[in-house]
Amino acid sequence: MREASFHRLQHRYAPYLFVSPFIILFSVFGVYPIFKSLLLSLYITNGPSDHVFVGLGNFKFLLGDPDFHTAVKNTVIFALCSVFLQLPLSLGLAILLSQKWLKGREFFRLAFFAPQLVGQAFVAVLFGVLFVPKFGIVNQALAAVFGMPDDTKWLQNPSLVMPALVFTSLWMYVGFNMIYFLAALQGVDTELYEAAKVDGANSWQQFLAVTVPGIRPVAVFVLVTATIGSFQLFELPYILLNNSAGPNKSGLTLVMYLFQTGFVSGDLGYASAVGWTLAIGVLVISLFQMRITGAWKGDNA
């Protein structure tokens, strides 16, 4: 009898017990800092005790700061290149890899995915050497294949820093996003292709009528997460450019700007303002992307 009531009791309270470690940690290290950073963004700070209330002053200063403009410009260019170069490449590779007659699919999949195992910091150290003028393998390959000069200073020439960053990020992420597209393509009902063929659709028409709607939810997911990821770019340029923003700040990104103002110059209030500007920007862009891709239409998304 007592046993039975113990069981009822512990069944009732078990879920609270199970979520409580999470709730406690999440409140302290997840929820509280969100509100605290909103508050902090209204102060200029210098060390833990020196806080001066400035209202929206940080945001006002930020919008007029040329460095912030540079960071926004670089980050947006990087994000645009990432999305418009990376995702079509990922999708293209996924389509090739999902051909039924293909041999060696496992090998190709593993090969394209491999860079994802290398953390961004390690990629940056590696590519720092690959981009070395004269001897680096990037210049050697360009010289051998296209006859280009082998002394291109990828990381010293301000106009070449962004191409180098985009190239490196393509190397890192094309295969990663390909995995999502592959999974989505495998989920498309093959009978739909047969039906389209019977209706006389050519390959391109089949792609538009069957593949695109079939992979849309995953494509939107990949688009949104890839964009969010590229807005958070930091390690790659920071390490690749010797712990700096590079020549003429050509590699200055928003998160690097946040890091420098908050943790190098020590103004945590200003860094919070930068963080919230980033958060709102990312949110607006994500919502916009979901709207134009029709992610909210229909309930299968």
Partner: protein
């Protein structure tokens, strides 16, 4: 039935594109491996491997600096983070998947909305908090704030929802406590998801650079990304040593991936496809 020449040409072209892509992807990694076996004189003399291998890069890595120390630091921080995250995420994921209780919806809504906020927003207040709690320049400053993974909770919630209720009910009839049901029934059947989560969580902690860079000042506590970045500053022209350090930093993740490959891809795509 043999294929028409046009079809064969098309297929050959597909193989060509894939081969070029695979070469472009693998060359940096092959070069990385090759560079660790070359002396500094041979480094750029031979594009990939030199005729004579040398171990000098690895010996100098271990004799001139406490590289073993850095590896142990990273291993400790990453495995602790994985274990703590795994326990908290699966337990909370189980509760949110299989129980109805007051406040459940609120918890889910709050979790979802915090996922929309980039982690960098939290860095400044977290820095203050960690400082206040006396966790600056310590591993607890890395492990404790990273102990919960909202992503992990959703991953486990989703996979545990697939576990049939009859299985849990059978456990209850046998007199299992709710925690035993979690430990002896739910966890064993969630093994694929556990594998996927361990790898994702390990990679997240292992590769993390910005936060350790901010809160670790004492060099003996450095994790690999921070240590390697510093190494690059100090030994910028000793490419072989630097690359040996890079290779050793990547290796544990590669080994873990090879062990958990199947689970990993399933877990990675579960959120997106079933979403």
């Amino acid at each position: 039935m043999s294929k028409s020449p046009a079809v064969r040409l098309g297929r050959g072209f597909v193989y060509l594109i894939l081969a070029v892509g695979a070469i472009l992807t693998l060359v940096p990694l092959v070069w990385l491996v090759a560079s660790t076996t070359k002396s500094n004189d041979d480094m750029f003399h031979y594009t990939f491997f030199a005729p004579h291998f040398t171990a000098v890069n690895f010996t100098s890595l271990f004799t001139k600096m406490p590289f073993v120390n850095y590896i142990m630091n990273s291993l400790f921080v990453a495995s602790t983070t994985v274990l703590v995250q795994l326990f908290f995420s699966s337990l909370a994921g189980f509760a949110l998947a299989k129980y109805e209780f007051k406040g459940k919806r609120v918890i889910i809504v709050i979790m979802l909305s915090t996922m929309l906020i980039p982690g960098q927003v939290l860095m400044a207040p977290l820095y203050e908090l960690i400082n206040h709690l006396g966790m600056m320049d310590s591993w607890s400053g890395l492990i404790v704030p990273g102990a919960v993974s909202v992503f992990g909770i959703f991953l486990f919630r989703q996979s545990i929802m697939q576990v049939p209720n009859e299985l849990l009910q059978a456990g209850r009839i046998d007199g299992c406590s709710e925690f035993r049901i979690y430990w002896d029934i739910v966890m064993p059947v969630s093994r694929p998801m556990i594998g996927a989560f361990c790898l994702i969580s390990f990679m997240g902690s292992w590769n993390s650079f910005l936060w350790p860079q901010i809160i670790l000042h004492n060099r003996t506590l450095y994790t690999l990304p921070v240590a390697l970045n510093q190494l690059r500053d100090l030994y910028s022209n000793q490419y072989g040593t630097l690359m040996a350090g890079t290779l050793l930093s990547i290796l544990p993740v590669v080994i873990l991936f090879l062990l958990l490959q199947k689970e990993f891809v399933a877990g990675l795509t579960a959120g997106a496809v079933k979403g």
